[in-house]
Symmetry: C2
Subunit: 311 residues, 2 copies
Amino acid sequence: MKKNLLIMTEMPEYFISLADQNFNTHKLWKQKDEDSYLFEIKESIDAIAVMGGYKITPDLMKSMPNLKIIACYGVGYDAIDVNFAKSLGIKVTNTPEVLNDEVADTAIALMLCVYKKIVKADSFARDNQWPNGDFPLTKKFTGTRLGIVGMGRIGKAIAKRAEAFDCEISYNSRTKKDVKYKFYNDLNELAKKVDTLCVITPGGKETEKLINKDVLNNLGKNGVLINVARGTVIDQDELINCLENKMILAAGLDVYTNEPHIPEKLMKLANTVLLPHIASGTVETRNAMGQLVFDNIKNYFEGTPLISEVN
Amino acid sequence: MKKNLLIMTEMPEYFISLADQNFNTHKLWKQKDEDSYLFEIKESIDAIAVMGGYKITPDLMKSMPNLKIIACYGVGYDAIDVNFAKSLGIKVTNTPEVLNDEVADTAIALMLCVYKKIVKADSFARDNQWPNGDFPLTKKFTGTRLGIVGMGRIGKAIAKRAEAFDCEISYNSRTKKDVKYKFYNDLNELAKKVDTLCVITPGGKETEKLINKDVLNNLGKNGVLINVARGTVIDQDELINCLENKMILAAGLDVYTNEPHIPEKLMKLANTVLLPHIASGTVETRNAMGQLVFDNIKNYFEGTPLISEVN
Protein backbone atom coordinates (compact mmCIF):
# COMPACT_ATOMS: atom_id res chain seq x y z
CA MET A 1 0.00 0.00 0.00
CA LYS A 2 1.27 3.43 -0.93
CA LYS A 3 2.28 5.69 1.94
CA ASN A 4 0.52 9.00 2.47
CA LEU A 5 2.77 11.96 1.79
CA LEU A 6 1.69 15.46 2.73
CA ILE A 7 3.33 18.10 0.54
CA MET A 8 2.97 21.31 2.53
CA THR A 9 4.12 23.86 0.00
CA GLU A 10 4.46 24.24 -3.71
CA MET A 11 7.60 22.36 -4.70
CA PRO A 12 9.53 21.92 -7.93
CA GLU A 13 7.79 19.87 -10.60
CA TYR A 14 10.62 17.32 -10.70
CA PHE A 15 9.93 16.33 -7.09
CA ILE A 16 6.12 16.47 -7.38
CA SER A 17 6.26 14.12 -10.33
CA LEU A 18 8.46 11.60 -8.47
CA ALA A 19 6.18 11.85 -5.43
CA ASP A 20 2.97 11.36 -7.42
CA GLN A 21 4.34 8.18 -8.96
CA ASN A 22 5.33 6.61 -5.65
CA PHE A 23 3.08 7.89 -2.88
CA ASN A 24 -0.47 8.97 -2.21
CA THR A 25 0.23 12.67 -2.30
CA HIS A 26 -1.80 15.28 -0.45
CA LYS A 27 -1.12 18.78 -1.69
CA LEU A 28 -1.84 21.25 1.05
CA TRP A 29 -1.03 24.39 -0.89
CA LYS A 30 -3.68 23.56 -3.49
CA GLN A 31 -6.50 23.48 -0.95
CA LYS A 32 -8.90 26.34 -0.48
CA ASP A 33 -9.35 25.67 3.22
CA GLU A 34 -6.00 24.34 4.43
CA ASP A 35 -7.08 23.94 8.06
CA SER A 36 -10.10 21.75 7.42
CA TYR A 37 -8.14 19.75 4.82
CA LEU A 38 -5.40 19.08 7.39
CA PHE A 39 -7.99 18.12 9.98
CA GLU A 40 -9.43 15.54 7.61
CA ILE A 41 -6.17 13.86 6.57
CA LYS A 42 -3.89 14.31 9.57
CA GLU A 43 -4.28 10.80 10.99
CA SER A 44 -3.34 9.16 7.70
CA ILE A 45 -0.14 11.11 7.03
CA ASP A 46 3.08 9.04 7.10
CA ALA A 47 5.50 11.64 5.76
CA ILE A 48 5.81 15.35 5.09
CA ALA A 49 7.76 17.06 2.34
CA VAL A 50 8.32 20.77 2.74
CA MET A 51 10.34 23.67 1.38
CA GLY A 52 13.11 24.84 3.69
CA GLY A 53 12.07 27.87 5.68
CA TYR A 54 8.41 26.81 6.00
CA LYS A 55 7.52 26.41 9.66
CA ILE A 56 6.48 22.96 10.93
CA THR A 57 5.07 23.54 14.40
CA PRO A 58 5.17 21.06 17.29
CA ASP A 59 1.35 21.20 17.28
CA LEU A 60 1.27 20.03 13.69
CA MET A 61 3.64 17.15 14.48
CA LYS A 62 1.59 16.13 17.51
CA SER A 63 -1.59 16.10 15.41
CA MET A 64 -0.22 13.37 13.13
CA PRO A 65 0.11 10.09 15.04
CA ASN A 66 1.56 8.20 12.04
CA LEU A 67 4.07 10.85 10.97
CA LYS A 68 7.50 9.23 10.64
CA ILE A 69 9.58 11.61 8.57
CA ILE A 70 9.73 15.29 7.63
CA ALA A 71 11.84 15.70 4.49
CA CYS A 72 12.98 19.25 4.08
CA TYR A 73 13.93 20.66 0.68
CA GLY A 74 16.95 22.85 1.38
CA VAL A 75 19.97 22.70 3.59
CA GLY A 76 18.60 24.96 6.35
CA TYR A 77 16.10 23.29 8.68
CA ASP A 78 15.85 26.16 11.14
CA ALA A 79 12.05 26.35 10.64
CA ILE A 80 11.59 22.87 12.11
CA ASP A 81 11.89 22.10 15.82
CA VAL A 82 14.19 19.16 15.37
CA ASN A 83 14.45 18.27 19.04
CA PHE A 84 10.71 18.13 19.39
CA ALA A 85 10.49 15.93 16.30
CA LYS A 86 13.08 13.62 17.83
CA SER A 87 11.08 13.37 21.06
CA LEU A 88 8.19 12.03 18.96
CA GLY A 89 10.46 9.68 17.01
CA ILE A 90 10.02 11.68 13.82
CA LYS A 91 13.02 11.79 11.49
CA VAL A 92 14.01 15.06 9.85
CA THR A 93 16.08 15.16 6.67
CA ASN A 94 17.48 18.03 4.61
CA THR A 95 19.32 18.30 1.27
CA PRO A 96 22.97 19.02 2.02
CA GLU A 97 25.92 18.44 -0.33
CA VAL A 98 23.96 18.64 -3.58
CA LEU A 99 23.74 22.42 -3.33
CA ASN A 100 27.22 23.22 -2.00
CA ASP A 101 28.66 24.10 -5.39
CA GLU A 102 25.68 26.17 -6.39
CA VAL A 103 25.68 28.31 -3.25
CA ALA A 104 29.45 28.73 -3.51
CA ASP A 105 29.04 29.87 -7.13
CA THR A 106 26.47 32.42 -5.99
CA ALA A 107 28.79 33.67 -3.24
CA ILE A 108 31.68 34.18 -5.68
CA ALA A 109 29.34 35.78 -8.22
CA LEU A 110 28.23 38.25 -5.55
CA MET A 111 31.84 39.07 -4.65
CA LEU A 112 32.87 39.66 -8.27
CA CYS A 113 29.72 41.69 -8.95
CA VAL A 114 30.23 43.88 -5.90
CA TYR A 115 33.95 44.48 -6.50
CA LYS A 116 33.67 45.02 -10.24
CA LYS A 117 30.21 46.68 -10.23
CA ILE A 118 29.06 44.31 -12.95
CA VAL A 119 25.34 45.07 -12.58
CA LYS A 120 25.93 48.81 -12.93
CA ALA A 121 28.38 48.29 -15.79
CA ASP A 122 25.76 46.31 -17.71
CA SER A 123 23.21 49.14 -17.23
CA PHE A 124 25.86 51.67 -18.27
CA ALA A 125 26.57 49.75 -21.48
CA ARG A 126 22.92 48.96 -22.21
CA ASP A 127 21.78 52.56 -21.62
CA ASN A 128 24.38 53.74 -24.13
CA GLN A 129 26.30 55.88 -21.65
CA TRP A 130 29.69 54.67 -22.86
CA PRO A 131 30.09 57.18 -25.74
CA ASN A 132 29.99 59.94 -23.09
CA GLY A 133 32.98 58.56 -21.20
CA ASP A 134 34.40 55.41 -19.66
CA PHE A 135 32.85 53.52 -16.79
CA PRO A 136 34.57 54.50 -13.53
CA LEU A 137 37.37 52.25 -12.31
CA THR A 138 36.37 49.67 -9.74
CA LYS A 139 38.19 47.50 -7.19
CA LYS A 140 40.33 44.42 -7.74
CA PHE A 141 38.98 41.18 -6.24
CA THR A 142 41.89 38.79 -6.82
CA GLY A 143 44.31 38.80 -3.92
CA THR A 144 41.89 40.26 -1.40
CA ARG A 145 41.49 38.92 2.13
CA LEU A 146 38.35 36.84 2.55
CA GLY A 147 36.83 35.98 5.91
CA ILE A 148 34.30 33.16 5.87
CA VAL A 149 31.81 32.98 8.75
CA GLY A 150 30.91 29.28 8.97
CA MET A 151 33.39 26.72 7.67
CA GLY A 152 30.96 23.90 6.89
CA ARG A 153 30.56 22.14 3.57
CA ILE A 154 29.52 25.28 1.69
CA GLY A 155 32.15 27.42 3.42
CA LYS A 156 34.78 24.99 2.15
CA ALA A 157 33.36 25.15 -1.38
CA ILE A 158 33.55 28.94 -1.27
CA ALA A 159 37.13 28.79 0.04
CA LYS A 160 38.16 26.39 -2.73
CA ARG A 161 36.95 28.84 -5.37
CA ALA A 162 38.39 31.91 -3.63
CA GLU A 163 41.81 30.24 -3.49
CA ALA A 164 41.88 30.26 -7.29
CA PHE A 165 41.52 34.05 -7.04
CA ASP A 166 44.56 34.09 -4.71
CA CYS A 167 42.44 35.26 -1.80
CA GLU A 168 43.97 35.04 1.65
CA ILE A 169 41.34 33.01 3.44
CA SER A 170 40.52 32.96 7.14
CA TYR A 171 37.38 31.94 8.98
CA ASN A 172 35.31 31.99 12.11
CA SER A 173 33.14 29.13 13.30
CA ARG A 174 32.04 27.56 16.56
CA THR A 175 35.02 25.23 16.52
CA LYS A 176 38.35 25.09 14.70
CA LYS A 177 38.12 22.89 11.61
CA ASP A 178 40.64 20.63 9.91
CA VAL A 179 41.40 23.13 7.14
CA LYS A 180 44.54 25.05 6.24
CA TYR A 181 42.88 28.46 6.58
CA LYS A 182 43.51 30.72 9.57
CA PHE A 183 40.95 30.30 12.35
CA TYR A 184 39.59 33.26 14.31
CA ASN A 185 37.78 32.41 17.50
CA ASP A 186 36.58 36.00 17.67
CA LEU A 187 34.32 37.16 14.84
CA ASN A 188 35.16 40.81 15.50
CA GLU A 189 38.86 40.09 15.12
CA LEU A 190 38.16 38.33 11.82
CA ALA A 191 36.08 41.28 10.59
CA LYS A 192 38.97 43.64 11.32
CA LYS A 193 41.42 41.58 9.31
CA VAL A 194 39.54 41.04 6.04
CA ASP A 195 38.36 42.90 2.97
CA THR A 196 35.32 40.69 2.46
CA LEU A 197 33.23 38.93 5.08
CA CYS A 198 31.14 36.11 3.63
CA VAL A 199 28.42 34.65 5.85
CA ILE A 200 27.46 30.99 5.42
CA THR A 201 26.41 29.80 8.88
CA PRO A 202 23.22 27.89 9.66
CA GLY A 203 20.22 30.09 10.54
CA GLY A 204 18.09 29.77 13.67
CA LYS A 205 18.26 31.22 17.16
CA GLU A 206 21.95 30.49 17.74
CA THR A 207 23.15 32.73 14.93
CA GLU A 208 20.45 35.42 15.10
CA LYS A 209 22.00 38.86 14.47
CA LEU A 210 25.48 37.35 14.73
CA ILE A 211 26.55 40.06 12.29
CA ASN A 212 25.74 43.06 14.44
CA LYS A 213 26.78 46.70 14.62
CA ASP A 214 30.16 45.84 16.17
CA VAL A 215 31.06 43.30 13.51
CA LEU A 216 30.07 45.74 10.75
CA ASN A 217 32.09 48.53 12.35
CA ASN A 218 35.08 46.22 12.54
CA LEU A 219 34.65 45.26 8.90
CA GLY A 220 34.98 48.97 8.30
CA LYS A 221 34.58 51.47 5.50
CA ASN A 222 36.50 49.46 2.90
CA GLY A 223 34.82 46.21 3.86
CA VAL A 224 32.38 44.18 1.79
CA LEU A 225 29.68 41.97 3.33
CA ILE A 226 28.30 38.94 1.48
CA ASN A 227 25.36 36.93 2.85
CA VAL A 228 24.36 33.58 1.34
CA ALA A 229 23.24 32.09 4.69
CA ARG A 230 19.95 33.29 6.21
CA GLY A 231 18.64 36.83 6.57
CA THR A 232 18.33 36.32 10.32
CA VAL A 233 22.12 36.04 10.73
CA ILE A 234 22.50 39.75 10.04
CA ASP A 235 21.02 42.67 11.92
CA GLN A 236 19.40 44.02 8.75
CA ASP A 237 18.56 47.46 10.15
CA GLU A 238 22.15 47.97 11.28
CA LEU A 239 23.39 46.80 7.90
CA ILE A 240 21.19 49.34 6.13
CA ASN A 241 22.43 52.04 8.46
CA CYS A 242 26.08 51.10 7.80
CA LEU A 243 25.53 51.03 4.03
CA GLU A 244 23.71 54.37 4.03
CA ASN A 245 26.45 56.01 6.06
CA LYS A 246 29.34 54.39 4.19
CA MET A 247 30.50 52.68 7.38
CA ILE A 248 31.06 49.63 5.18
CA LEU A 249 31.80 49.80 1.46
CA ALA A 250 29.17 47.52 -0.03
CA ALA A 251 27.07 44.39 0.37
CA GLY A 252 26.04 41.48 -1.80
CA LEU A 253 22.95 39.78 -0.42
CA ASP A 254 20.96 36.71 -1.42
CA VAL A 255 18.88 36.51 1.77
CA TYR A 256 16.84 38.88 3.92
CA THR A 257 15.12 38.96 7.29
CA ASN A 258 11.54 38.86 6.01
CA GLU A 259 11.58 37.20 2.58
CA PRO A 260 10.26 37.80 -0.03
CA HIS A 261 10.22 41.37 1.29
CA ILE A 262 13.36 43.42 0.78
CA PRO A 263 13.40 46.76 2.60
CA GLU A 264 12.96 49.66 0.20
CA LYS A 265 15.98 51.37 1.75
CA LEU A 266 18.15 48.44 0.65
CA MET A 267 16.74 48.57 -2.87
CA LYS A 268 17.64 52.23 -3.17
CA LEU A 269 21.27 51.77 -2.13
CA ALA A 270 23.77 51.89 -4.99
CA ASN A 271 26.38 49.98 -2.98
CA THR A 272 24.42 46.73 -2.97
CA VAL A 273 23.92 43.74 -5.22
CA LEU A 274 20.57 42.17 -4.34
CA LEU A 275 19.49 38.68 -5.31
CA PRO A 276 16.08 37.12 -4.58
CA HIS A 277 17.38 34.03 -2.70
CA ILE A 278 18.59 32.26 -5.84
CA ALA A 279 21.66 30.65 -4.26
CA SER A 280 20.66 27.10 -5.15
CA GLY A 281 18.25 28.12 -7.88
CA THR A 282 19.38 26.28 -10.97
CA VAL A 283 17.51 23.52 -12.76
CA GLU A 284 20.33 21.04 -12.19
CA THR A 285 20.71 21.71 -8.47
CA ARG A 286 16.99 21.94 -7.74
CA ASN A 287 16.42 18.58 -9.46
CA ALA A 288 19.20 17.05 -7.38
CA MET A 289 17.61 18.49 -4.23
CA GLY A 290 14.18 17.12 -5.22
CA GLN A 291 15.69 13.71 -5.85
CA LEU A 292 17.28 13.74 -2.40
CA VAL A 293 14.02 14.74 -0.66
CA PHE A 294 12.34 11.85 -2.46
CA ASP A 295 15.13 9.34 -1.78
CA ASN A 296 15.11 10.07 1.95
CA ILE A 297 11.38 9.39 2.21
CA LYS A 298 11.59 6.31 0.01
CA ASN A 299 14.53 4.93 1.97
CA TYR A 300 12.72 5.39 5.26
CA PHE A 301 9.77 3.26 4.20
CA GLU A 302 11.99 0.66 2.53
CA GLY A 303 13.95 0.36 5.77
CA THR A 304 17.25 1.43 4.21
CA PRO A 305 19.42 4.13 5.82
CA LEU A 306 18.46 7.77 5.38
CA ILE A 307 20.89 9.71 3.22
CA SER A 308 20.83 13.01 5.06
CA GLU A 309 19.26 12.81 8.49
CA VAL A 310 19.61 15.88 10.71
CA ASN A 311 18.39 14.49 14.08
CA MET B 1 68.13 66.98 -19.80
CA LYS B 2 64.62 65.58 -19.55
CA LYS B 3 63.37 63.54 -22.47
CA ASN B 4 60.35 64.66 -24.47
CA LEU B 5 57.37 62.38 -24.00
CA LEU B 6 54.31 62.72 -26.21
CA ILE B 7 51.17 61.48 -24.48
CA MET B 8 48.73 60.88 -27.34
CA THR B 9 45.55 60.21 -25.43
CA GLU B 10 44.04 60.91 -22.06
CA MET B 11 45.58 58.42 -19.65
CA PRO B 12 45.03 57.56 -16.00
CA GLU B 13 46.11 60.24 -13.52
CA TYR B 14 48.57 57.90 -11.83
CA PHE B 15 50.62 57.61 -15.02
CA ILE B 16 50.32 61.29 -15.98
CA SER B 17 51.63 62.29 -12.58
CA LEU B 18 54.65 59.96 -12.85
CA ALA B 19 55.32 61.21 -16.38
CA ASP B 20 55.10 64.91 -15.44
CA GLN B 21 57.66 64.42 -12.69
CA ASN B 22 60.20 62.69 -14.92
CA PHE B 23 59.78 63.90 -18.51
CA ASN B 24 58.89 66.97 -20.53
CA THR B 25 55.37 65.88 -21.28
CA HIS B 26 53.42 66.97 -24.35
CA LYS B 27 49.74 66.27 -24.02
CA LEU B 28 48.22 65.88 -27.45
CA TRP B 29 44.65 65.30 -26.34
CA LYS B 30 44.56 68.66 -24.56
CA GLN B 31 45.37 70.63 -27.72
CA LYS B 32 42.73 72.46 -29.73
CA ASP B 33 44.52 71.88 -33.01
CA GLU B 34 46.24 68.53 -32.68
CA ASP B 35 47.75 68.55 -36.20
CA SER B 36 49.55 71.86 -35.91
CA TYR B 37 50.68 70.98 -32.38
CA LEU B 38 52.18 67.73 -33.67
CA PHE B 39 53.84 69.53 -36.54
CA GLU B 40 55.52 71.91 -34.08
CA ILE B 41 56.86 69.31 -31.65
CA LYS B 42 57.42 66.22 -33.81
CA GLU B 43 61.19 66.59 -34.20
CA SER B 44 61.75 66.83 -30.44
CA ILE B 45 59.76 63.74 -29.42
CA ASP B 46 61.80 60.89 -27.86
CA ALA B 47 58.97 58.69 -26.67
CA ILE B 48 55.25 58.13 -27.04
CA ALA B 49 52.79 56.87 -24.45
CA VAL B 50 49.42 55.80 -25.71
CA MET B 51 46.29 53.93 -24.68
CA GLY B 52 45.95 50.48 -26.25
CA GLY B 53 43.67 50.53 -29.26
CA TYR B 54 44.68 54.07 -30.38
CA LYS B 55 46.20 53.89 -33.87
CA ILE B 56 49.84 54.92 -34.33
CA THR B 57 50.36 55.19 -38.10
CA PRO B 58 53.62 54.57 -39.96
CA ASP B 59 53.42 58.20 -41.16
CA LEU B 60 53.41 59.44 -37.59
CA MET B 61 56.42 57.29 -36.73
CA LYS B 62 58.30 58.50 -39.82
CA SER B 63 57.61 62.13 -38.89
CA MET B 64 59.52 61.79 -35.62
CA PRO B 65 63.22 61.30 -36.28
CA ASN B 66 64.12 61.02 -32.57
CA LEU B 67 61.33 58.65 -31.61
CA LYS B 68 62.84 55.65 -29.78
CA ILE B 69 59.95 54.00 -27.96
CA ILE B 70 56.18 53.67 -28.11
CA ALA B 71 54.86 52.54 -24.76
CA CYS B 72 51.39 51.15 -25.05
CA TYR B 73 49.01 51.06 -22.09
CA GLY B 74 47.21 47.73 -22.39
CA VAL B 75 48.11 44.25 -23.42
CA GLY B 76 46.81 44.49 -26.99
CA TYR B 77 49.06 46.40 -29.40
CA ASP B 78 47.09 45.59 -32.54
CA ALA B 79 46.66 49.31 -33.34
CA ILE B 80 50.43 49.73 -33.80
CA ASP B 81 52.32 48.48 -36.84
CA VAL B 82 55.02 46.75 -34.86
CA ASN B 83 57.02 45.55 -37.85
CA PHE B 84 57.17 49.02 -39.29
CA ALA B 85 58.29 50.38 -35.92
CA LYS B 86 61.02 47.75 -35.83
CA SER B 87 62.24 48.76 -39.28
CA LEU B 88 62.79 52.28 -37.90
CA GLY B 89 64.47 50.96 -34.74
CA ILE B 90 61.54 52.05 -32.58
CA LYS B 91 60.78 49.85 -29.59
CA VAL B 92 57.18 49.01 -28.72
CA THR B 93 56.14 47.93 -25.24
CA ASN B 94 52.81 46.86 -23.77
CA THR B 95 51.57 46.03 -20.27
CA PRO B 96 51.20 42.28 -20.01
CA GLU B 97 51.11 40.21 -16.80
CA VAL B 98 49.84 42.98 -14.52
CA LEU B 99 46.34 42.69 -15.93
CA ASN B 100 46.08 38.91 -16.27
CA ASP B 101 44.23 38.43 -13.01
CA GLU B 102 41.87 41.28 -13.64
CA VAL B 103 40.81 40.11 -17.10
CA ALA B 104 40.44 36.57 -15.80
CA ASP B 105 38.23 37.87 -12.98
CA THR B 106 36.09 39.67 -15.56
CA ALA B 107 35.82 36.51 -17.69
CA ILE B 108 34.64 34.41 -14.73
CA ALA B 109 32.28 37.18 -13.62
CA LEU B 110 30.72 37.17 -17.10
CA MET B 111 30.33 33.39 -17.03
CA LEU B 112 28.67 33.37 -13.60
CA CYS B 113 26.44 36.32 -14.53
CA VAL B 114 25.32 34.69 -17.79
CA TYR B 115 24.67 31.26 -16.24
CA LYS B 116 22.98 32.53 -13.10
CA LYS B 117 21.30 35.62 -14.67
CA ILE B 118 22.69 37.79 -11.88
CA VAL B 119 21.98 41.12 -13.59
CA LYS B 120 18.34 40.21 -14.16
CA ALA B 121 18.01 38.77 -10.66
CA ASP B 122 19.22 42.07 -9.17
CA SER B 123 16.61 44.00 -11.21
CA PHE B 124 13.96 41.48 -10.18
CA ALA B 125 14.82 41.96 -6.49
CA ARG B 126 15.22 45.73 -6.74
CA ASP B 127 11.96 46.23 -8.67
CA ASN B 128 10.14 44.33 -5.92
CA GLN B 129 8.91 41.54 -8.19
CA TRP B 130 9.79 38.82 -5.69
CA PRO B 131 6.51 38.97 -3.67
CA ASN B 132 4.70 37.97 -6.89
CA GLY B 133 6.68 34.74 -7.27
CA ASP B 134 10.18 33.32 -7.32
CA PHE B 135 12.84 34.20 -9.88
CA PRO B 136 12.96 31.51 -12.58
CA LEU B 137 15.55 28.76 -12.16
CA THR B 138 18.80 29.26 -14.05
CA LYS B 139 21.69 27.07 -15.17
CA LYS B 140 24.51 25.57 -13.11
CA PHE B 141 28.00 26.82 -13.97
CA THR B 142 30.16 24.51 -11.83
CA GLY B 143 31.12 21.38 -13.71
CA THR B 144 30.46 22.77 -17.18
CA ARG B 145 32.81 22.28 -20.12
CA LEU B 146 34.84 25.40 -20.86
CA GLY B 147 36.68 25.97 -24.14
CA ILE B 148 39.28 28.72 -24.08
CA VAL B 149 40.29 30.28 -27.41
CA GLY B 150 43.84 31.53 -26.83
CA MET B 151 45.93 29.85 -24.13
CA GLY B 152 48.31 32.72 -23.35
CA ARG B 153 48.92 34.26 -19.95
CA ILE B 154 45.34 35.41 -19.49
CA GLY B 155 43.92 32.16 -20.87
CA LYS B 156 45.89 30.33 -18.20
CA ALA B 157 44.61 32.67 -15.48
CA ILE B 158 41.04 32.00 -16.62
CA ALA B 159 41.69 28.25 -16.65
CA LYS B 160 43.13 28.35 -13.13
CA ARG B 161 39.94 29.97 -11.82
CA ALA B 162 37.61 27.73 -13.84
CA GLU B 163 39.34 24.65 -12.42
CA ALA B 164 38.13 25.68 -8.96
CA PHE B 165 34.60 25.49 -10.39
CA ASP B 166 35.36 21.92 -11.57
CA CYS B 167 35.11 22.97 -15.19
CA GLU B 168 36.42 20.53 -17.78
CA ILE B 169 38.85 22.76 -19.65
CA SER B 170 40.02 22.48 -23.23
CA TYR B 171 41.49 25.05 -25.58
CA ASN B 172 42.37 26.12 -29.08
CA SER B 173 45.40 28.18 -30.01
CA ARG B 174 47.88 28.46 -32.87
CA THR B 175 50.18 25.92 -31.20
CA LYS B 176 49.80 23.31 -28.48
CA LYS B 177 50.94 24.69 -25.12
CA ASP B 178 52.61 23.07 -22.15
CA VAL B 179 49.40 22.85 -20.13
CA LYS B 180 47.37 19.90 -18.88
CA TYR B 181 44.19 20.95 -20.70
CA LYS B 182 42.98 19.22 -23.85
CA PHE B 183 44.18 20.90 -27.05
CA TYR B 184 41.96 21.25 -30.11
CA ASN B 185 43.71 22.16 -33.32
CA ASP B 186 40.32 22.82 -34.88
CA LEU B 187 38.26 25.64 -33.35
CA ASN B 188 35.02 24.21 -34.74
CA GLU B 189 35.69 20.89 -33.03
CA LEU B 190 36.30 22.72 -29.75
CA ALA B 191 33.07 24.72 -30.14
CA LYS B 192 31.13 21.46 -30.59
CA LYS B 193 32.53 19.95 -27.40
CA VAL B 194 31.98 22.74 -24.87
CA ASP B 195 29.22 24.52 -22.98
CA THR B 196 31.09 27.83 -22.84
CA LEU B 197 33.52 29.26 -25.37
CA CYS B 198 35.69 32.01 -23.89
CA VAL B 199 37.69 34.13 -26.32
CA ILE B 200 41.01 35.60 -25.16
CA THR B 201 43.20 35.74 -28.28
CA PRO B 202 45.17 38.79 -29.43
CA GLY B 203 43.28 41.13 -31.77
CA GLY B 204 44.50 42.29 -35.18
CA LYS B 205 44.20 40.94 -38.70
CA GLU B 206 45.18 37.37 -37.88
CA THR B 207 42.21 36.77 -35.61
CA GLU B 208 39.64 38.94 -37.38
CA LYS B 209 36.22 37.24 -37.33
CA LEU B 210 37.81 34.04 -36.06
CA ILE B 211 34.51 33.40 -34.28
CA ASN B 212 32.30 33.20 -37.35
CA LYS B 213 28.94 31.71 -38.24
CA ASP B 214 30.33 28.16 -38.34
CA VAL B 215 31.93 28.37 -34.93
CA LEU B 216 28.73 29.82 -33.44
CA ASN B 217 26.63 27.11 -35.06
CA ASN B 218 28.96 24.49 -33.65
CA LEU B 219 28.73 26.06 -30.19
CA GLY B 220 25.02 25.47 -30.60
CA LYS B 221 21.77 26.36 -28.92
CA ASN B 222 22.91 25.52 -25.39
CA GLY B 223 26.27 27.23 -25.84
CA VAL B 224 27.49 30.40 -24.15
CA LEU B 225 29.99 32.78 -25.76
CA ILE B 226 32.26 34.99 -23.63
CA ASN B 227 34.52 37.63 -25.21
CA VAL B 228 37.21 39.42 -23.20
CA ALA B 229 39.64 39.71 -26.14
CA ARG B 230 38.89 42.25 -28.88
CA GLY B 231 35.62 42.96 -30.62
CA THR B 232 37.23 42.23 -34.00
CA VAL B 233 37.73 38.55 -33.10
CA ILE B 234 34.00 37.94 -33.42
CA ASP B 235 31.76 38.46 -36.43
CA GLN B 236 29.46 40.73 -34.45
CA ASP B 237 26.60 40.72 -36.97
CA GLU B 238 26.56 36.92 -37.01
CA LEU B 239 26.66 36.85 -33.23
CA ILE B 240 23.64 39.16 -33.04
CA ASN B 241 21.82 36.97 -35.56
CA CYS B 242 22.61 33.82 -33.54
CA LEU B 243 21.50 35.43 -30.27
CA GLU B 244 18.28 36.77 -31.80
CA ASN B 245 17.41 33.39 -33.26
CA LYS B 246 18.45 31.37 -30.19
CA MET B 247 21.09 29.55 -32.23
CA ILE B 248 23.34 30.03 -29.21
CA LEU B 249 22.04 30.37 -25.65
CA ALA B 250 23.67 33.57 -24.46
CA ALA B 251 26.71 35.81 -24.59
CA GLY B 252 28.77 37.78 -22.09
CA LEU B 253 30.75 40.52 -23.82
CA ASP B 254 33.29 43.07 -22.65
CA VAL B 255 34.43 44.15 -26.12
CA TYR B 256 32.78 45.18 -29.39
CA THR B 257 33.71 45.83 -33.00
CA ASN B 258 33.30 49.61 -32.91
CA GLU B 259 33.82 50.76 -29.32
CA PRO B 260 32.41 52.71 -27.55
CA HIS B 261 29.44 51.93 -29.78
CA ILE B 262 27.41 48.85 -28.94
CA PRO B 263 24.80 47.87 -31.53
CA GLU B 264 21.29 48.64 -30.33
CA LYS B 265 20.23 45.12 -31.27
CA LEU B 266 22.73 43.72 -28.78
CA MET B 267 21.48 46.08 -26.05
CA LYS B 268 17.92 44.85 -26.55
CA LEU B 269 18.77 41.17 -26.25
CA ALA B 270 17.83 39.59 -22.92
CA ASN B 271 20.33 36.76 -23.37
CA THR B 272 23.38 39.01 -23.05
CA VAL B 273 25.51 40.49 -20.30
CA LEU B 274 27.19 43.61 -21.70
CA LEU B 275 30.18 45.34 -20.14
CA PRO B 276 31.81 48.56 -21.42
CA HIS B 277 35.35 47.14 -21.84
CA ILE B 278 36.09 47.11 -18.11
CA ALA B 279 38.19 43.93 -18.10
CA SER B 280 41.25 45.58 -16.59
CA GLY B 281 39.36 48.53 -15.15
CA THR B 282 40.18 48.57 -11.47
CA VAL B 283 42.20 51.20 -9.63
CA GLU B 284 44.81 48.65 -8.56
CA THR B 285 45.35 47.15 -11.99
CA ARG B 286 45.26 50.43 -13.88
CA ASN B 287 47.90 51.86 -11.52
CA ALA B 288 50.07 48.80 -12.09
CA MET B 289 49.65 49.23 -15.85
CA GLY B 290 50.56 52.94 -15.62
CA GLN B 291 53.64 52.08 -13.61
CA LEU B 292 54.71 49.58 -16.26
CA VAL B 293 54.24 52.06 -19.13
CA PHE B 294 56.39 54.52 -17.19
CA ASP B 295 59.04 51.96 -16.19
CA ASN B 296 59.51 50.81 -19.79
CA ILE B 297 60.16 54.37 -21.00
CA LYS B 298 62.40 55.17 -18.03
CA ASN B 299 64.39 51.96 -18.50
CA TYR B 300 64.92 52.69 -22.16
CA PHE B 301 66.56 56.05 -21.51
CA GLU B 302 68.53 54.73 -18.55
CA GLY B 303 69.88 51.95 -20.77
CA THR B 304 68.43 49.15 -18.65
CA PRO B 305 66.44 46.31 -20.23
CA LEU B 306 62.84 46.92 -21.20
CA ILE B 307 60.38 45.01 -19.04
CA SER B 308 57.80 44.13 -21.69
CA GLU B 309 59.02 44.67 -25.22
CA VAL B 310 56.82 43.33 -28.02
CA ASN B 311 59.15 43.69 -31.05
